[in-house]
């Protein structure tokens, strides 16, 4: 069974997310100060721009090759179930980030616990969708 446009899109998002935020966390960790420094904000901005560019270029390339970019009720159901799964991770991350804000000095840990769980939630969302496309929704 060949991959649909939607599955290719998910693989692209997963790879770009892992690559870009892998780069970001490799640069900013371990923390050098209690607060987020301006250089780290610049790295974050660069990471976001890279993510957007890679995803736009990748989706255009996939759309050119694939031609069929239509989605249907199964895609919508899988998207909803994936979002439900990621919601649990994001809520857990928000709670842990608040705990970190109370327990640590400065904003670095709070910001990065929140960011790490947002990335993890995205990975869970994409990963669970890819599994549902293969094993059934």
């Amino acid at each position: 069974m060949g991959l649909s446009f939607r599955e290719k899109s998910l693989w692209l998002m997963l790879a770009s997310l892992l690559g870009v935020f892998g780069f970001y966390f490799a640069v900013v960790l371990p923390p050098e100060a209690p607060n987020v420094m301006p250089e780290q904000v610049a790295v974050f901005a660069l990471a976001v721009v890279m993510l957007v560019v890679v995803q736009i270029v990748g989706h255009v390339a996939i759309a050119i090759v694939d031609r069929r970019t239509d989605t249907d009720e199964r895609d919508r159901l899988i998207t909803l179930k994936g979002a439900r799964n990621s919601g649990f991770v994001l809520a857990t991350g928000a709670f842990l980030a608040l705990c970190a804000a109370l327990a640590t000095e400065g904003n670095f840990v709070f910001m990065h616990v929140l960011l790490a769980f947002w990335v993890l939630a995205e990975i869970v969302q994409i990963g669970s969708q890819l599994i549902m496309y293969r094993r059934g929704a």
Partner: protein, 73 residues
Amino acid sequence: MGKRSGRLTNEVRALRSGQGGMTQQDLADRVGVTRQTINAIEGNKYSPSLEVAFRIARVFSVPLERIFGYDEN
């Protein structure tokens, strides 16, 4: 209410083969879903909505229960 372990079964692949080699893409285009969804339905990996089920039945001009069944086990 307890969760039941039954599953939806279907004869879509057999009916498609009986239509002079209708491809999954042909059926998908006529029903208005993707080819991958037809493949998932045929492999019992996805239970379509009633709307899609009726559209499939209409393509083959047969009653719904001729295509879809429910296996209690």
